[in-house]
Symmetry: D3
Amino acid sequence: MNESTFLQTLYHRNKKCYQVFPDKHATESFIDDLFHLCFVPKNNGLGGLMAIQRDYADLKVRFQSIVSGFLPDAKAIDDITNQFFEKIPEVYEVLLADAQAILSSDPAAQSLEEVLVAYPGFFATAVYRFSNVLWHLNLRLLARLLTEIAHSKTGIDIHPGATIGHSFSIDHGTGVVIGETCILGNNVKLYQSVTLGALSVDKKDATTKRHPTIEDNVVIYSGATILGGDTIIGHDSIIGGNVWLTYSVEPFSVVYHKSEVKVRDNNPFPEPLNYVI
Amino acid sequence: MNESTFLQTLYHRNKKCYQVFPDKHATESFIDDLFHLCFVPKNNGLGGLMAIQRDYADLKVRFQSIVSGFLPDAKAIDDITNQFFEKIPEVYEVLLADAQAILSSDPAAQSLEEVLVAYPGFFATAVYRFSNVLWHLNLRLLARLLTEIAHSKTGIDIHPGATIGHSFSIDHGTGVVIGETCILGNNVKLYQSVTLGALSVDKKDATTKRHPTIEDNVVIYSGATILGGDTIIGHDSIIGGNVWLTYSVEPFSVVYHKSEVKVRDNNPFPEPLNYVI
Amino acid sequence: MNESTFLQTLYHRNKKCYQVFPDKHATESFIDDLFHLCFVPKNNGLGGLMAIQRDYADLKVRFQSIVSGFLPDAKAIDDITNQFFEKIPEVYEVLLADAQAILSSDPAAQSLEEVLVAYPGFFATAVYRFSNVLWHLNLRLLARLLTEIAHSKTGIDIHPGATIGHSFSIDHGTGVVIGETCILGNNVKLYQSVTLGALSVDKKDATTKRHPTIEDNVVIYSGATILGGDTIIGHDSIIGGNVWLTYSVEPFSVVYHKSEVKVRDNNPFPEPLNYVI
Amino acid sequence: MNESTFLQTLYHRNKKCYQVFPDKHATESFIDDLFHLCFVPKNNGLGGLMAIQRDYADLKVRFQSIVSGFLPDAKAIDDITNQFFEKIPEVYEVLLADAQAILSSDPAAQSLEEVLVAYPGFFATAVYRFSNVLWHLNLRLLARLLTEIAHSKTGIDIHPGATIGHSFSIDHGTGVVIGETCILGNNVKLYQSVTLGALSVDKKDATTKRHPTIEDNVVIYSGATILGGDTIIGHDSIIGGNVWLTYSVEPFSVVYHKSEVKVRDNNPFPEPLNYVI
Amino acid sequence: MNESTFLQTLYHRNKKCYQVFPDKHATESFIDDLFHLCFVPKNNGLGGLMAIQRDYADLKVRFQSIVSGFLPDAKAIDDITNQFFEKIPEVYEVLLADAQAILSSDPAAQSLEEVLVAYPGFFATAVYRFSNVLWHLNLRLLARLLTEIAHSKTGIDIHPGATIGHSFSIDHGTGVVIGETCILGNNVKLYQSVTLGALSVDKKDATTKRHPTIEDNVVIYSGATILGGDTIIGHDSIIGGNVWLTYSVEPFSVVYHKSEVKVRDNNPFPEPLNYVI
Amino acid sequence: MNESTFLQTLYHRNKKCYQVFPDKHATESFIDDLFHLCFVPKNNGLGGLMAIQRDYADLKVRFQSIVSGFLPDAKAIDDITNQFFEKIPEVYEVLLADAQAILSSDPAAQSLEEVLVAYPGFFATAVYRFSNVLWHLNLRLLARLLTEIAHSKTGIDIHPGATIGHSFSIDHGTGVVIGETCILGNNVKLYQSVTLGALSVDKKDATTKRHPTIEDNVVIYSGATILGGDTIIGHDSIIGGNVWLTYSVEPFSVVYHKSEVKVRDNNPFPEPLNYVI
């Protein structure tokens, strides 16, 4: 394929895409500014309430612009915009409770402000909660794009279709994966590299519940993997680090990985340990 | 060292560097725009083919500018630019096959468009394939910089010198590491936190094959680690989650980590599990 | 809560925050430019020493602006600014030694320049070392914000309060977590997904040493987890991949995870391995 | 004065100025955007009414920011902002009548839209009318700055303190000067390089009426100069090109400059005419 | 009219305008970049021919975007774009001859480069010549907008419908006005504040020739005014400064304003001269 | 000439120009920022002296960059930069005296700040004085470009080679032209549309004194034209509006244009006055 044919190809493929693609950069700055307006004020407060009203009005117009490409007409754009923004105050209150849960459970957190400004788990949760509203408004590609933006910034990959209760917290978070049909109760806490995944590989099973249910007050430590749509982690359980679990456990369970560690206290080092990665 | 001496030091060190450093920000926006031109069109299609031609011409000029700092003369700049851009149509077709492979194997993926716009594994693969061309044109620092940019955005760290066959897919992807001398066949699928690493630590062995070979149709689940230049994973094998492997396995192997998990169904919690991280 | 009440709520909450929040975007571009001035020169050297002096003066003014919101008066702003910038030359020299350590120990690294421009471990270390100065100047929220910025870019989460000796190196790095009260000696090397965490969960224990001590010349391979404030890894030890350790080991120890891996060489695949994540 | 002393001098002078100077660039983009919102819409209409509300809210916040430097407190800022914006709809209607007057009297004007987008006389009139509101709100330096911005763009210099009736038109306009205490009636039309100036030179006379009065339905052709606070041009008069007038004329007067022109029909050219400028 | 009604009014008025208004800012940067590409190269030449091709392709796309609002369909946009750009090489050559004429006739001009970069008369002429092409392609509002942009920058107001021969020059230029139906021959030179205007005021006469004809090799000095559609200035004539002319003169005429100047060599000053403006 | 040939032509012409052209946009923002640093502070004073030092250092680097294209080597660039910046404090003081002269002589000026921020005559004078330094450093094209920038913004065209004494003031200013070899004494005041021009047309006379000399304490009213290298306006003279003068006058002269104005007090209007322009 020479350059001229290649550019023709791009042109014809791209034309088809204008109807379905949200603008990635516009979407990224939209969610960033929505998050900042709610939790991390950007300016010095001079404009006061007037400035907040202006910024909120601006977010609405930008949202209209983002969704305009893949909705049929101006009325649909206005309806979706109104439905999304009507939900924001409610989502905001749920998120403040999430932030409070992080503050309560992490000894290193010194203030609610630190949680808002410097906890990637809080940011990923916020983007998930906004995206989940869009998912239920049937803006699925936009919802997925938003959680991917949060994934890119935080290493935390929450599917917008997942169901997560209140007072949810993630600490550190890099490597966390939460699948589409997960159901999480209230007061769940996850550490880094936790996977809540599926067992079914068949594309025809895409609409069934493929991911686990985590009941209230469960803590899951770093590196744990829980798989399967029928797997239920009973409430008030603790799942230890690196555990690999494909079946249900009762409420109040404590699950831990029995790891055998060998220590050799004298040198020279055994050769197979001298690797680099 | 006082401020004045410090700035002098920076000045003398930096002067030396102008010959060897690609401009990080220019490189970042170059690869971002190249990816978008090929897969995620940015504008509303008004300019049509003319706009695509303009954008492609612009990418060429920006590429020239990026490589101009570390090539000897205008002719070398033009030659490298032409060689790189001649390869792009071919890389584009290979990447469309990668996207198709992701769509086929992930039940959560709803359309090819979703894969193009919202799968970090696809983005990292694309940047790797473009970088690999540069690696073979001997622009090694630039190639490395590009894959580091993808690493920063996706948590997926693929060395530009690696060899990867067609229909390659990575899901979620955070924490994936693929070393310089890896050889991957066709239809390989990786999940998050997979490491394909080396065993040799000695700097003098830097030019030997230090990383494993993965044959066709292999799936490697999350958290698996495969190490060593002589390690070959035979075709049509499955490597389970958290497996740690430093030797070869036959074709059609199924390898899984035999994990012992203990469950205690009554509280109070044993003290050593009450940790935070 | 209707829109009007919601915006009033944001207004009143945000007003309180102006005194305590550093501007996230200004902080992000500040640390990025400081890093580039020191290690990855951006322009073509034309302006020479004059340009470096100008850029350094610019960084000072921007630093003043960032800290101005949460310091009482102009004198405090000037004092903190001077104290921070006086430390920079010293931090710079320590960081060059870190870069040299990475170059020496990684066979894939081809030049010091590659380390400076394309190693996320080096970037995260640099941001940590600058933040650590701020932590000791009692600018704790700003210090935390800075390391979170590095976490977002690299997947490496180092608390600014941690203590880390010279010639420190991290390779790949995605998923690394280093807690607030960790103490690391000299010549420590970490791979991806290493966690150095705490065992205590009680908020009242926030001021005690909750994270481990790693002595000189220790290497910790990918996926290893070391927990607890009393845990000491003796000097010249090697901690293998995926090891989970909650107690001390002697100097010159070699610790490895005894992993049982099962291989079945004939198909059909056992059902429970056919999962997706 | 060496550089160090010079910068100290600037610092001390400038500090005094922060209280009294509106920000020139912010002011320039404010008036430009206010004019465009009212008369020359910038975008493609997608955002609809919502976008106009947002832009108007934005203009208010920016106005607050511009005046914040030289008003005593937040209440004064809010009051002035409200008073100015309450006047805008009224000014808007007067300006539409001005545009209509231009369209009616200029055979080259093809549509009202052409007048709005491409007549510098209309732009200068619009800026004058907005500035005149500010002048009467006692924001005199800001008002002056605004008309200077229009002067710079159009070559038309109207003092914000001047009084001008409805249906006012200026054609071409370069070089027009209208002084502070001028009073112009309705349906006045001016051509380029018309000066309406003062006769008094004494600083102590700064508060008296120093500039002429032009009654309704007067046309003043290019290059005419009319001077003096007691000079009254009676209604329905015509003032010819290049007229120099320092006394009053009756209503329905026609005033013209009796110019003697000499023509010599054969060459060579007389030397004193061979000049360049 | 309250604010809400006012914004509704703007909304309804503006909606009507989207079909007819070219975007003022896009137009301004388009003509600026076209002028610079042709005469005042902006960059350092690195990109070479490739960069010029890219910039030219970019100008085409931007032109398409500017005219897209007021043309019926994609085909019309493409046709107009192609017709305009096909004329550019020819216009370019005529403009180089204009620049050469300025260089030859102005003793202060030291090089052709100085004329290209620093003569407002040359810039205004260039914009006029480009606009004149658009005028004849029936893009009249766009053509007018372009000459108004040049008017704003230079104080020189040339109507895009005027007809001007080759080797045309304007020196200084502030205040020059050239009307729509003027016809100027070759080698005409104008100084600042020259008006070539109309005598007819009636809107119904808008389509007749209302402005004068200036034949070849005429020089018109500063402040001269020539009016009327039947007025013809014969070739090789000189029109002196401040002349006011409403009738034709023969070829080789020399026309000068017989100005009576009085000098009083002793003080005190007569009161009527002590004016300010 | 087809498009391909045309772009080749531009490429070859432009290549030649890179050595001689200052970058117009960089030059424009340089002079704007230099003016603002000296007279109209942009920010809110937070950065204090440190910010001024940074901005001054920045101006030096940008000046280096502007002149780098047409100077032979780094040493020449440094020398010219130092020589120009050493002159700035002195020019600054002369300009403050100019501003004071404007304040004293214009009854409409209410404060020194108004003069600095809103008098185009002051801006044009400032740019002239900076350009005059460059003219004498032999950077003639750059000096001309700077005064053209001021001409474009203010309509005031002062040649950088002119010689102008202290306490110089221009009011309104649109249309003022001051030629290259003019010599103006101290306390000279000009109004709008004053021309100080040449009589010689011959290119070979380009190096002789072609423009007039204006001695101390002279006022020249609007529209006056004074021509010729031998023309000397004696000190303490007044030149009235619209005067056309090509010979010298004694000190203490009062020169005025004896204008005959006819008034007809009854209608209908005589046809020849019913013109439009």
